[in-house]
Amino acid sequence: MSRITRSLSELFGYDPKKPGPDDYKPGAKELHAFQRTDAETKKRVEGIRIEIAEKQQNPTGEKLRLKRWAVLIFVNVLFLISWKLDIQLLEGAITGSRFVGFHMADVNSALQVVMAFKHVVLNLVIGFTTVFIAWWLLGGRTFCSWACPYHLLAEWAEILHLKLVEKKLVKDHPFDRRARTWFWIIFAVLALVSGYTVYETISPTGILSRALIYGPGLAMIWVALLLLFEIFYSRRAWCRYACPIGLTYGIVGTTSPLIIRYELSSCFHEGECRKVCLVPHVLDTVIKGRARDEEVEIGADCTRCGRCVDTCPTGSLKFKFKGLGNLL
């Protein structure tokens, strides 16, 4: 299986497959064997001990996360500012807009409209293409963690959820990740058959974007219910198991040049990255013995939020723009 097919299969909800004996590149095979030696194991255990001690003494926090939140808030508030100050910089809402007059259309919303309406509108084609190229360059699901307004609220709900889990007051109930693929298909069929953009009715992304710009309404109750569900029942449920927008952008970013790159040689396999990750299955490769190569590109379901990069104590995960080298 090639990297792309593996990436897509994870995106569609299948569990990552453990590499078979023949799936390793020679370099990776050597490294795994080397890491299994007694001396190396000792070194790693000692290294992790030092890391923990350092972390306790000097907690660094997540710098990139705050920057990302700032970007996300800026993007969303720009719609409002642009309108209220009448500067015509970014008009509309996240589903469809004009950036300095140039059409932009959310890829998923545009697909919903085309499927329900059954006409191809030129402006939508322009908007769709522009946004498609932009998010392809930036990594597809980058939309989720850097632009989607629901993602931000869901992150805050997740913080609460994890606190409650820590206090053993609630438990995370995972769902089958293939559900998201089914939702995508069902909402596509519903749009085609009913002639209505059914998904938009419950899309927290659209609802929140409009609420921020045009004022909140009844639809916020739905968003609140989703957040409560995530706090008390299932961690990040909407983004992980339901949102068709996430899947759409995941597909857009499958071949994106902007990726998170994993380096096997420096990794201690602490698993810190997987604890913070929205989509930990994409980090399956960091588990000891799983990396197929010395360097591995993280799959398309990754939202490029950078929390793993920020959290990794050994700097084994980095942003990379292919052809440009390491970014952070």
Partner: protein
């Protein structure tokens, strides 16, 4: 419940996997079910919405609108609102509450139509008289000031009313608050006087079409006052809606009574074909 293992043999799901599978089914059914609730307000016609100029026929309009509100942002009189969750599949679609704020075509160029990225507001539409938002209907003729032979003096709908209208003689480019434009009329004719179609037709009759463009001239009149019985010597007139009415709602909005003499009917045939 069984699924294939590596050796190809089918084995029963572990209880944990089984619970996860069931939970996923329930969640999925719940989510799809919730989204389909959006059908109810649409099929039940809970809201008969007056849509902005150029709106396609309702079903096509709901399908093609991308729910972005660009039309809201360009409207100079803030006439356009976005529907909420109780509109079901119509969530996020634009509509007008014409009594509160009607479309007075003060943008002339139909800015909402130009702003629409999906053609849910048909781009073929160029002039106000081509609009087809609905049609006005007289519902309270008995209370109409003109029918009762009365005039009107003062602020239409009081000092706190926030509605906007463009008064060409005051400022061609910016609408002002109706409350800032008091009237003194011997016989109330506000519905005819402020009708954007009538105003354009009058300008054309006077040989001065809007923007000097003959195409701006409405081919049909929209509303008029007709004389009625005046046995007691009091001059009385009643409003009559004509074929040229586009349903913009200015008459409904400008009617100074507690309850407007007019309502906007969203007619079945309304809307442009996609």
């Amino acid at each position: 419940m069984a699924h294939k293992h590596k050796d190809g043999k089918k084995r029963p799901m572990t209880p944990m996997k089984r619970r996860k599978f069931m939970r996923t089914l329930v969640m999925g059914a719940g989510l799809i079910g919730t989204s389909l609730l959006g059908f109810i307000p649409v099929l039940g016609r809970w809201k008969e919405r007056v849509r902005p100029p150029g709106a396609l026929k309702e079903q096509e309009f709901l399908a093609s609108c991308i729910k972005c509100g660009q039309c809201v942002q360009v409207c100079p009189v803030n006439a356009i609102k976005l529907a909420d969750l109780d509109d079901g599949f119509g969530i996020g679609t634009p509509y007008l509450d014409t009594r509160e704020q009607s479309c007075d075509f003060s943008c002339d160029g139909l800015q909402c139509v130009l702003a629409c990225p999906t053609g849910a507001l048909a781009h073929e539409l160029n002039y106000p008289h081509e609009t087809d938002m609905g049609i006005a209907r007289v519902v309270r003729q008995e209370s109409c000031l003109a029918v009762n032979g009365k005039g009107f003096k003062g602020q239409v709908r009081g000092p706190d009313y926030k509605g906007l209208l463009r008064y060409e003689e005051i400022d061609r480019w910016s609408p002002i608050r109706v409350s800032e434009h008091p009237y003194d009329l011997e016989l109330c004719d506000l519905c005819v006087r402020q009708c954007p179609i009538e105003q354009r037709a009058d300008q054309c009759d006077a040989g001065k079409p809007p923007s000097g463009d003959e195409n701006q001239c409405p081919p049909k009149r929209a509303i008029r006052l007709v004389e009625i019985d005046n046995e007691d010597g009091v001059r009385r007139m009643k409003p009559e809606i004509l074929d040229g009415c586009v349903g913009c709602g200015v008459c409904e909005m400008i009617c100074p009574l507690e309850e407007s003499v007019f309502v906007m009917d969203v007619v079945e045939s309304r809307g442009w074909a996609a």
